[in-house]
Amino acid sequence: MALTRNLRKYGMFYLMLLPGFLILLVNNYIPMLGVVIAFKEMTYPHANIIMNFIDSKWVGFENFKYLFKTSDAWVITRNTLLYNSLFIVLNLVIPVAFAIMLNELRNKYLARFHQSIIFMPYILSWVVVSYLVYGLLHDKNGFVNTTLLPFFGIDPVQWYFKIHAWPFILPIVNTVKNVGYYMVLYLAAIIGIDDEYYEAATIDGAGKWQQILKITLPLLMPVIIIMTLLQIGQIFRADFGLFYQVPKESGVLFPVTNVIDTYVYRTFLAMGDSGLSSAAGLYQSTVGFVLVFLSNWFVRRIDKDSALF
């Protein structure tokens, strides 16, 4: 009874929900059944993937072993966590700053222009970005070594062997690529803030700086918290393109560029064993899941309304 009334009343909304729900179901929920691969040794006696599923041997936690077997386990976990923590901070501070600055620009044409330019790198694929970086850093023909460093009278550097440079290069590249996306997001939130707050503040004699601190930032907080929470959920998942494509597979750099995703991918490429890769994926997801709950719990304690759920 209640259901039919509900349907009559909100039917249109359910209908609007349907496409999104279906996509979620097909792309996120059905593949979840694939977690069994993590506990199997996959073989391919059949042309049909489901039969292969059923016929493959159960191996328990055997597939998880290699993740902890290597002395690199610590390195890849550390790299993944540190880089991602840094990225969360950078993806918060810089885009918010840019969004506020763009919002304050009087000339709207110029604002649009800057916005487009800053957004541009986001739509480039990592492969393209990796070659742009290669163009800058190539030891013989790169811009940095042929033009920039000689200008300052510094000797050329073999960038792809310079282990200490990459903890800086990677965050810079990542920020340049992603700043536009987050900036647009925050900009949209800022534009949504009611002008009356600012008018009232101006009448009360608040300067620009005070308006930003006392109005824009506090009202932006819910968006910031949601974005950060979402990113914390992904903290165990490194941006594969960044860490795999940009350092050009330079083995020397592995101590600072190898993350869980690239480690797993390389293992898969060499072994072709989907059980091993799935095991790593499951491990990452589980940790990510726990982290989201923890951080949400944390946010809830501080500010109940801002929590995700």
Partner: protein, 523 residues
């Protein structure tokens, strides 16, 4: 409370619908499976009945009994601009012969292993895969990616069995079964360099004095002094002085798994490469060359294949596995006819990597393995088809005079340089730039190589899978950098060794030794 109930309900609905959707998928696929199962024997029997007469000249009659089928063949190599043209010509011919058409899918060399792994794991509908000892043949067999060919060879591969040296099929077996049809080509292997003869002559360098890698030092020094814009030696991952074909290292199976013996020795103790004197010495020479600026400085990171670098025209020498006329073959595919020469720098050997060094396997995803075998059989016996695939269309890509062919201007649009991958190389026409007696030279080359103690043995890595998975990552970190001379040998090799030991390399080698000893005892 109410809210919780509602979401629980939603969750249940969700679980239910997804399981239903899945069940639907499953049953549909099952149907398909059984259907193909029942149809295959049917076509088989019709073929058998016509087989006796199709053998001679009534090929068209046999072809019309078969349903049209599109074969997909995947092999390493750069895409060729005229590929579609060749496919058209092949389709015309194949339709007559076996009522099939073909889709050639070359994959770039540098992406080869990665792509094939993905294709196999995602069950892409492929009929024929190129495979080889050095590119995960044993691993893919263990994963059931390839079909056991025995029934198909008996039925449609009779010509292969008669024409191919039995050593090939025997030497490429895994657990007594054939999963790939080896290409009929040179049986022995040798490593060395291919270099720009025109420049050596121009600079007056006596290359006949080069007998070892060390002798190359003086040569490269001269080249570097006279032509500063030229890279004297172009190395990269897998193509360097410590490559298995150069060092005569026999990994007894997959080359990415540690533990080697020397092909040119009788020693049967499996050692880690860092414990093998020749490997370490060669690393040091390579490092010396790198420091002297002979080697491309991006060797550790480049993804440009050495033959492409040679083609670009600013490289003096590359390392290569050699056979008679490799220089001329390479010259033709890089557009450097008459400008290349080769020097052998190690001893001629034969090991499992040669008997199974180039094979065509039928994928377990093939919709019609019978047809795939018919095609492979044709590659082994049909002169027209084989040459069409390797050299293009007569009159368009080459002109022919008896057995000798001359590439036309259009040859650059189709020169895959992959003759050693497809069927029977002895069917190939000889290029005008090659020795006319090429195939006699091949036969001579096949005589008298040193036989590796490991011939016929393939290591099964399953018992040490966890260790091997950990080691491949370490290898990726150190191997290329070391083997191209990009990093200091003494300090880095020690670090590499240390990490390998921690990851359990000794266990892998012990397992390899155990299996190898059992193999030797059974011989």
């Amino acid at each position: 409370m109410v809210k919780a109930k509602k979401s629980a309900l939603l969750l249940m609905v969700l679980a239910l619908t997804s399981s239903m959707a899945l069940a639907a998928c499953g049953s549909k696929d099952d149907d398909k499976e059984t259907k193909t199962d029942t149809t295959t024997p049917a076509t088989t029997t019709t073929d058998d009945s016509t087989k006796t007469d199709d053998k001679k000249d009534d090929a068209a009659g046999a072809a019309s009994d078969l349903k049209p089928y599109k074969l997909v063949m995947v092999y390493p190599g750069g895409a060729q601009p005229d590929e579609a043209k060749i496919e058209d010509a092949m389709n015309k011919y194949l339709t007559e012969k076996i009522n099939a058409t073909i889709d050639l899918q070359p994959i770039d060399w540098t992406a080869w292993e990665d792509k094939v792994n993905l294709m196999i794991a995602s069950r892409d509908p492929v009929d024929i895969f190129f495979t080889a000892q050095w590119t995960k043949y044993a691993v893919n067999v263990a994963k059931n990616a390839f079909l056991d060919l025995a029934p198909y060879l008996d039925k449609y591969g009779q010509d292969i069995k008669t024409e191919l040296d039995p050593a090939y099929l025997e030497g490429s077996k895994i657990d007594g079964k054939n999963y790939g049809v080896p290409t009929n080509k040179e049986l022995a292997a040798q490593g060395g360099i291919v270099y720009r003869k025109d420049w050596a002559d121009e600079l007056g360098i006596d290359m006949s004095a080069v007998k070892t890698i060390q002798d190359l030092d003086a040569v490269f020094a001269k080249v570097k002094a006279a032509k500063p814009e030229v890279t004297p030696l172009y190395l990269l991952k897998g193509e360097n002085f410590d490559a298995h074909y150069f060092g005569n290292f026999d990994a007894l199976g997959d080359t990415s798994i540690p533990g080697i013996i020397l092909k040119d020795s009788t020693e049967t103790t499996v050692k880690a490469s860092y414990d093998t004197q020749r490997y370490v010495d060669t690393l040091k020479i390579t490092r010396d060359f790198f420091n002297k600026g002979y080697i491309n400085s991006d060797a550790a990171t480049t993804t440009t294949m050495n033959t492409d670098a040679l083609k670009a025209g600013n490289v003096f020498a590359i390392t290569s596995s050699l056979k008679p006329g490799k220089d001329a073959e390479l010259a033709a595919s890089t557009g450097l006819v008459g400008k290349l020469a080769q020097i052998e720098l190690n001893e001629k050997t034969v090991s499992t990597s040669e008997t199974s060094g180039s094979m065509l396997a039928i994928s377990t995803t093939s919709g019609d393995p019978d047809r795939a075998m018919m095609f492979i059989n044709l590659l082994h016996t049909d002169k027209y088809l084989n040459n069409l695939l390797n050299f293009g269309i007569e009159g368009d890509h080459f002109n022919r005079d008896g057995e000798i062919i001359t590439p036309t201007d259009n040859a650059k649009n189709y020169s895959p340089g992959a003759a050693w991958m497809f069927g029977n190389q002895f069917l190939n026409y000889v290029l005008n730039s090659e020795a006319p007696d090429k195939w006699d030279q091949f036969k001579k080359f096949n005589e008298g190589p040193k036989v590796s103690p490991g011939l016929g043995f393939v290591f099964d890595s399953e018992p040490v899978k966890a260790e091997v998975s950990a080691i491949v990552n370490i290898d990726r970190q150190y191997q290329v950098a070391l083997e191209t001379g990009s990093v200091d040998v003494d300090s880095v090799l020690a670090e590499y060794k240390d990490k390998l030991i921690k990851a359990g390399v000794e266990k892998v080698i012990a397992e390899k030794q155990k299996q190898f000893d059992a193999f030797l005892a059974s011989k």
